[in-house]
Symmetry: C2
Subunit: 190 residues, 2 copies
């Protein structure tokens, strides 16, 4: 089904991805990744996270550069708004994951993308986090991603690319299905 | 249970939060928020998301400034590594949410924080996203957050603060429980 036409270039090296799939099928231990962030409180609801290294292909890996992310609550919650809210990071991760998949699947199907844009919106009733109503969940009551895609393909082909990206998206899975989270307090000084 | 001692200052305005809770109990419609990101593909697996406005308290709201986030895949996946991976954004959001809650709960309990640090690690077997083994999920096989907290409190009090933050965390809920995600392709030009 691979159709990497010479004239189609979405910037994704599908041959390398297919090679990785073949290599990791032979050595599945290399497929075990660990993604990481280090994190510290700044003041109030403001915190800063740093992403630089991860583990994969059996070894420690480094991003080309270190990235830093400020999170805070907005001024309407009497905070300083020195960063985006924690929940907005999930919307960024979701759109990014689906779009990377769209580019890869389109390349694999020999379809040239011209532009991909999206808006992501997550609804949240903050009666949950404020403890007003225990029947209201803390997280999103739902998220909608709306794509506008311009490509050398029929609307049906484009929709099929998006559907395939959803099917293989790590973030789509992490948000739509439960993930176990363990929170440890390893050092607590008085 | 409110104990906002004059000597304790974690930078969280608990009085304002309690006021908001009271106000939104009377007018629950104002508690309905919509968080948003706009998003566009750059090239390959590289995309850029922008966060600036949201809806809440019955009106459109703006962050103090617009924030831009680059996401990409790393070089070991034959990508350019021009941003962190989509899944790492989830780790940033999770730590940020829990830490904002820790600061707020500590303030409400009259406990001075001196430092809060954490590492976040999410395991992932990429046999899932590569389509090698359909029994392997695409997302994280689990996430661990490890806190080191220095505060004017006993280890038990500190652990209780962290537990309460988990209980009210929007991102912890969004990751540990299923969230419905709808993906629409509103415009697909050939």
């Amino acid at each position: 089904m691979t159709n990497v036409q010479g004239t189609v270039n979405n910037g994704v090296n599908v041959a390398a991805l297919l090679g990785a799939r073949e290599a990791l099928t032979a050595t599945p231990e290399g497929a075990k990744f660990k993604w990481r962030a280090s994190h510290k409180w700044v003041n109030g609801t403001h915190s800063r996270s740093t992403v630089s290294g991860f583990f994969g292909l059996g070894a420690e890996q480094k991003h080309k550069r270190e990235w830093t992310f400020d999170a805070d609550h907005p001024e309407i919650f009497a905070s300083e708004d020195d960063g985006i809210t924690p929940v907005e990071f999930l919307l960024v991760g979701l759109a990014s994951c689906l779009t990377a998949g769209i580019a890869a699947v389109a390349q694999n199907r020999g379809i040239q993308l011209r532009s991909v844009q999206a808006t992501v919106e997550g609804g949240m009733d903050i009666q949950g986090i404020l403890g007003i109503d225990s029947d209201v969940r803390n997280g999103f009551d739902g998220i909608t991603v709306r794509y506008k895609i311009d490509a050398d393909a029929t609307p049906e082909e484009i929709k099929a690319i998006v559907a395939q990206s959803q099917k293989r998206s790590a973030v789509y899975d992490a948000i739509t299905n439960p993930t176990n989270v363990t929170v440890e307090v390893n050092e607590a000084r008085a």
